[in-house]
Symmetry: C2
Subunit: 235 residues, 2 copies
Amino acid sequence: MSPKPRATDVKDRLVEAAIRLLDESGPEALQARKLAAEVGVSTMAVYTHFGGMAALVDEVARAGFLRLSEWLAGVGETDDPVADIFSLARTYRQAVAEQPQLFAVAFGQSAPGGKRATLSDLTTAEGREAAQEGLEAFAHIVRATERAIRAGRFRPADEYQAAAQLWSALHGFVTLEASGHFGPGEQGIDHILLPLGITMAVGLGDTVDQARASAEAAKAAWRARTGNTGQGGND
Amino acid sequence: MSPKPRATDVKDRLVEAAIRLLDESGPEALQARKLAAEVGVSTMAVYTHFGGMAALVDEVARAGFLRLSEWLAGVGETDDPVADIFSLARTYRQAVAEQPQLFAVAFGQSAPGGKRATLSDLTTAEGREAAQEGLEAFAHIVRATERAIRAGRFRPADEYQAAAQLWSALHGFVTLEASGHFGPGEQGIDHILLPLGITMAVGLGDTVDQARASAEAAKAAWRARTGNTGQGGND
DNA sequence: ACGGTTTCTATAACTCGGTTATAGAACCAG
DNA sequence: CTGGTTCTATAACCGAGTTATAGAAACCGT
């Protein structure tokens, strides 16, 4: 029983196993013994590579934000920045809906050992890196907002401030939806998220008609990207 | 419940101690042994009265929502429903800012033993009651929204749907602010929350001028209530 | 290639915290 | 007073993070 695993791989494999088990079995699967057994090493690996479970969980959170950022980066830019914002919102929501456990950990809503209570008091280096990745995801919203302002769709304003408003609305919706409010499945999108997007766009200076058109354009683009109707999808 | 004052007293004192220690020492203070020692009983009290720590934590969450609901109820109603919404938002934010640990637990962002991961899978009766209290807090927003629609300030719309948008925006801001984004102190209010409120009001049908005036009215009312510049608070 | 150092790893023990088993004390009805 | 119910304290159990320690492997300067 002494197969020697590639030392450099163990760290990555622990994080991979953590993410996989997290979505399969929930946050209680994020245990040093379980992860070590899954990877085929002893629990000591957690300490030599991370220093403790807290840093490993932070690394999982960082991976989640990184995944979110990549997802948002995949949205791309069209000549309708407001439609792009709708697409970003849908993508953000979709990412969280597909891996709720992962993002519950990333957003600090699920802390197996009381670790990672709030993002504000970050102790580990991994935690700070995770926060950095979170800001990276935010940057996508800022860029789209800036384009909307430049295109005259939004009133002239500080793009960070306007984007922070959009981020708040989007993040609040996603958080509350993931908590079970707004009902199951996709119904929250049409009932709350889309109207919320139109409300925000109009409030930031867009016209109601243009905002609605952009929402429709984003919906069409979403159908094209996901390849189905977007209405019947269950998760 | 009622006929035995002494026995029930222990139950209440455990919850009180939990809330107090929570804000003093953070979520790691929510331990059966610590709470029992604080109250002066053995850890068995946790099990005879709650059945386990999970139910006790849910009870703390319920107390948090109850407190939030009372806070919001104290806002009252004026003849300017949009200003009332601004006041509700400020109060909601203030409650969370004053007892961040309590509401981190209530919102499920801090789970000492992996308990209370998401609000969606509620197992204990206390957890369901806590969710009920959360909806109670939401009801205040719904009522103010309905009045705003009736007063012609917001476009005719389903009040639940419109209120859910407002709740999303508000909750998102509060969550992100508590996570450390938007900077420390009160600066997030003027930079993000107030503009966000105006954006939402305008997007829901209000005019920019009226929304700004209501924001100012709410700010003035807030100063009157707290007796000062918007700093500090009471409870 | 060699010897020393550093890094990684497994085993096993330790600590802490939730939980349970059990027996005694307090309370209440009759 | 007696019997049953409820609460309580003591003590143990168990799971999970962590640490101590020693051996193995990789690395490196000479």
